[in-house]
């Protein structure tokens, strides 16, 4: 079974943050760690079960490359990427 990759967009399917869009910054077994740059910053990601999220798309290539290469990203970059997705559905 293919694995999802760190750096992808995901939408929460359950909980008080249902329908909210996040970026996956870590995956450990059945859990993912999510950030949105504002309520869930890189310093304190949200831990959620994989089955409670839906991977929806990849984010912009530059940010994705940075995350998947292990380079530092900022909360601003995460916020901007999510805002662009929600606005344009990219």
């Amino acid at each position: 079974m293919a694995a999802c990759r760190i750096g992808e967009f995901a939408k929460s399917k359950a909980g008080h943050d249902k329908e909210q869009v996040f970026v996956i910054i870590n995956i450990e077994n059945e859990y993912v760690y999510l950030v949105d740059g504002k309520s869930r910053k890189l310093e304190s990601p949200k831990k959620k079960k994989l089955k409670h999220i839906q991977v929806i798309n990849k984010i912009d290539d530059n940010l994705l490359n940075k995350i998947q290469s292990g380079n530092n990203i900022t909360n601003e970059e995460v916020k901007r990427a999510i805002k662009l997705y929600v606005k344009n559905g990219i």
């Binding site: 079974m1 293919a2 694995a3 999802c4 990759r5 992808e8 059945e30 990849k58 998947q68």
Partner: protein, 251 residues
């Protein structure tokens, strides 16, 4: 990143787990025919897994409802088996399954042309399979993870096929998905150095057209964005001091 190195006894358990999975895939391959549903072929897989005294590791994994992912034509991976989805003559069908044997996971996938499939479909299937073998030329101690990824991606691209980027192969052992991620295209960093005792599930997912994919509303099925065919080939591989051991092929 914590990539596990399996002990001798763990390697024996992985070998057994993978050998049993090879039997499951053989049963499914022999059963697959036009007119059956994707649910039917899934049940062949599930019943065989249980008959062998093992547990299907896909079932209920993060909520996946079945033992086998059955993905047809433009479905890339994670197709949910259905009693309503009939497999037709000329379809290409990817069967992705795994099992747990005494706590150790195995994972493998095959794509088959059912009945009279087109030459283009058959070529896609064969090239996808060969992508795996191009990749494992570098699945050796001392090579780096990105050597495998680059080899797979370059081979697929040489045929102008699209390489799926959002999904990847993975480490495997006491969990179905372990570190590391194993993408199927070149990365900017060389990745971890491979060591004997690592067990990796390497799985090229290749589209006949664009690499772009869409995630379905069912939360699982991934399809090609342009509707082109997609093929999938996967084995669990043991890194050794010499040539890699393909654990899920029964020699």
């Amino acid at each position: 990143m914590a990539v596990t190195i399996k002990s001798h006894s763990e390697i024996e358990l992985m070998r057994k787990s993978c050998k049993l999975l090879a039997i499951v895939h053989e049963e499914m391959k022999n059963a697959l025919r036009p007119g059956m549903t994707t649910y039917d072929i899934n049940m062949v897989g599930e019943k065989t897994i249980k008959k062998l005294g093992c547990k299907p590791n896909f079932k209920n994994y993060n909520g996946f409802p079945s033992a086998v992912c059955v993905s047809v034509n433009d479905e890339v991976v994670h197709g949910i088996p259905s009693k309503k989805h009939i497999i037709n003559d000329g379809d290409i069908v990817s069967l992705d399954a795994g099992l747990i044997y005494k706590g150790y996971h195995s994972d493998a996938a095959r794509t088959y042309a059912v009945g009279n499939a087109s030459d283009e479909a058959k070529k896609l299937i064969e090239i996808t399979r060969q992508c795996f073998f191009e990749g494992i030329k570098y699945a050796k101690a001392g090579c780096h993870l990105n050597d495998i990824s680059t080899a797979i991606g370059e081979y697929a691209n040489s045929f102008s096929y699209g390489v799926v980027e959002e999904l990847c192969g993975h480490g495997i052992g006491t969990s179905l998905h372990e570190d590391p991620e194993i993408p199927n295209f070149a990365q900017k960093k060389k990745g971890i150095r491979l060591e004997p005792g690592m067990t990796l599930a390497i799985e090229p997912m290749i589209n006949a057209g664009s690499k772009e994919i869409i995630w379905s509303d069912d939360g699982w099925t991934v399809t090609t964005k342009d509707g082109s065919l997609s093929a999938h080939y996967e084995n669990t591989v043991l890194i050794t001091d010499g040539e890699p051991e393909i654990l899920t092929i029964d020699n």
